[in-house]
Assembly symmetry: C2
Homo-oligomer: 144 residues x 2
DNA sequence: GGTGATATGTTATCTTATTACATCGCACCG
DNA sequence: CGGTGCGATGTAATAAGATAACATATCACC
């Protein structure tokens, strides 16, 4: 981490375009996943006007693993640690109460799914693993 | 159940409403996942006119495990074997070439994800596991 | 017959995502 | 310098997916 977000955007990758930087910066400051339109609304002041500008940036960012798309939410998050592109598939735990998302890796899970694929003759291009539920904080602060 | 609507439906559950039966029947005959609007189009002749009629049926069907929603596709499939609600989470392998979907269970995967959840204090309500890629048939019939 | 729960039908609207087309900036090459 | 190609941009229009709000109907049950 070690990045102050004080003045302007900073910089995990040094070759982002302006729009990509804006979008990634917005995601980086968000507590919860944002839809493309959420992001657009945050960036109107910076001059963005059309959904496509956001979608194009998101495409590049997700391609590079700097952001992730949550399929079950149609929304996006900043990658939790863009430093190490820890290879491999990432899983997400999405709290339906507070909206926050935790990103984690479970190598065994990936292995098992790859194993099934091999056996079935299926060639996987990408894997989506998303848990919906209630996070620790929300569980403890809610009634049964 | 017992009404046979002119021949086309096996019957898994005998207490479906007309709309639910129509929607499930449509999915059961489909080769590939269908969006709610695909389903609606197929059912105009039967008198359905509004998306909501389809969505409402799909809600009930997915609740009961007779159909599944594919989050990464915004589309729906008929459950592969509605007989045994094989408890537990189901995973899907989606062929991006032919569109077909295979449904499978990997208990170990579910265990691992439950294990992570327990450790993280996360209480999962449901899990989504979807592989995108190329199926055996399409791999062998394609170049490279 | 009255009541409540569930299913329906219909319209309008909202959210999410893409198509199509024009332009700009810049590296690269002759 | 001029040209060519490619990737990013800007903009408008529209497609695709999902829900809100409201009115009505059906049926079990008392």
């Amino acid at each position: 981490m070690a990045h102050d977000h004080s003045g302007h955007d900073h910089v995990w990758a040094d070759d982002l375009t302006r729009n990509q930087e804006l979008v990634l910066g917005t995601l980086a400051h968000a507590e919860a996943p944002m839809s493309a339109y959420d992001i657009l609304d945050k960036l109107r002041d910076e001059g963005l006007r059309a959904p496509l500008q956001v979608y194009r940036a998101l495409d590049k960012l997700t391609e590079r693993g700097l952001a992730h798309r949550l399929e079950s939410l149609n929304a996006f998050v900043c990658c939790a640690d863009a430093q190490c592109h820890k290879a491999g598939t990432i899983a997400f735990a999405i709290c339906e109460t507070c909206g926050r998302v935790e990103e984690f890796a479970e190598p065994t899970v990936e292995q098992k799914l790859s194993g099934w694929s091999r056996a079935a003759g299926f060639v996987p291009a990408r894997m989506t693993i998303e848990l919906r539920g209630t996070c620790r904080g929300c569980v403890s602060s809610l009634p049964a």
